[in-house]
């Protein structure tokens, strides 16, 4: 019997606590999807970074703006959308924090971590003009078995 949620939507206010809350729901669903502990942590941290950016940059800490998080358990991967009500951004404009001249700046590592911890990562313009970060992690097929 498959009783895994296929799609969970969470709408949050622009508040610090929303970051941890979204992360916890993400970890919970990653577990339900069959991801191991290490992947659960990685998915959780990616959600954390995505929602933190929506909080800081997208919605500029304006409490009344919403952060919209959608978790989808597709047949081959878990897909996460984080949408804010800001003005969006383009991935090309984010400086590479691993370049020598950027090594010592405080910021720029959130996108890097999301890319490193997830298999897919992209940024779209959301419906309301804000950023929509879409990231996905594929299920790991246990050795010798067909993909789940």
């Amino acid at each position: 019997m498959s009783s895994k949620p296929q799609r969970v939507e969470v709408v949050l206010e622009t508040l610090l606590d929303s970051i941890a809350l979204a992360e916890e729901v993400g970890v919970r669903l990653a577990e339900a999807a069959g991801f191991g502990e290490d992947d659960q942590y990685k998915i959780g941290l990616a959600v954390h970074e995505g929602v933190m950016n929506a909080f800081q940059y997208g919605n500029e800490q304006k409490r009344e703006k919403k952060i919209h998080v959608i978790f989808e358990l597709a047949h081959d991967k878990m897909v996460i959308h984080v949408t804010d009500q800001g003005t969006g951004f383009r991935l090309e404009d984010v400086p590479d924090p691993c370049k020598d001249e950027n090594m010592l700046v405080d910021s720029g590592r959130g996108v890097l971590l999301m890319k490193a911890f997830m298999d897919e990562f992209s940024v779209l313009a959301g419906q309301g003009g804000g950023a929509e970060v879409i990231m996905a992690k594929r299920y790991r097929a246990p050795a010798g078995s067909p993909a789940m």
Binding site: L16, E49, P97, L104, S107, R109, G110, L113, A116
Partner: protein, 113 residues
């Protein structure tokens, strides 16, 4: 579970033992204050013991980098001790592993200043 910190002096080095999470709003401000306070009081050799730090986000990483920079600017040094697997992985991914002086042995770390 937020961040707990306590400091010790060993051979002129200030060892700051950290325990908990270093994330936005949950430890990162405390860490910054601690680093600045020590440097501003002339304690210029700082060793952050991260043994108890199980979770770090990009804000926490930024705080480490900013502390490192501030120490340098004050003629001091900030080094790292006892990284957990998770924290070590984060420093690898962000290439910060090559920036920091990282130790696994406290005595050797203290002597390295």
């Amino acid at each position: 579970m937020s961040l707990k910190a306590s400091s010790r002096e060993i051979g002129g080095v200030t060892v700051i033992d950290l325990d908990g999470r270093i994330t936005l709003g949950d430890g990162s401000a405390l860490l910054r204050d601690l680093i600045h306070e020590n440097l501003d009081h002339g304690r210029k050799k700082l060793l952050l013991n991260l043994a108890g730090v199980s979770y770090l986000d990009s804000t926490g990483l930024g705080e480490l980098v900013s502390g490192y920079r501030y120490a340098k600017s004050q003629g001091g040094e900030l080094k790292l001790l006892n990284l957990s697997k998770k924290v070590s992985d984060l420093l690898q991914i962000t290439k910060l592993y090559a920036v920091f002086d990282i130790h696994n042995d406290e005595t050797q770390a203290v002597m390295s200043f």
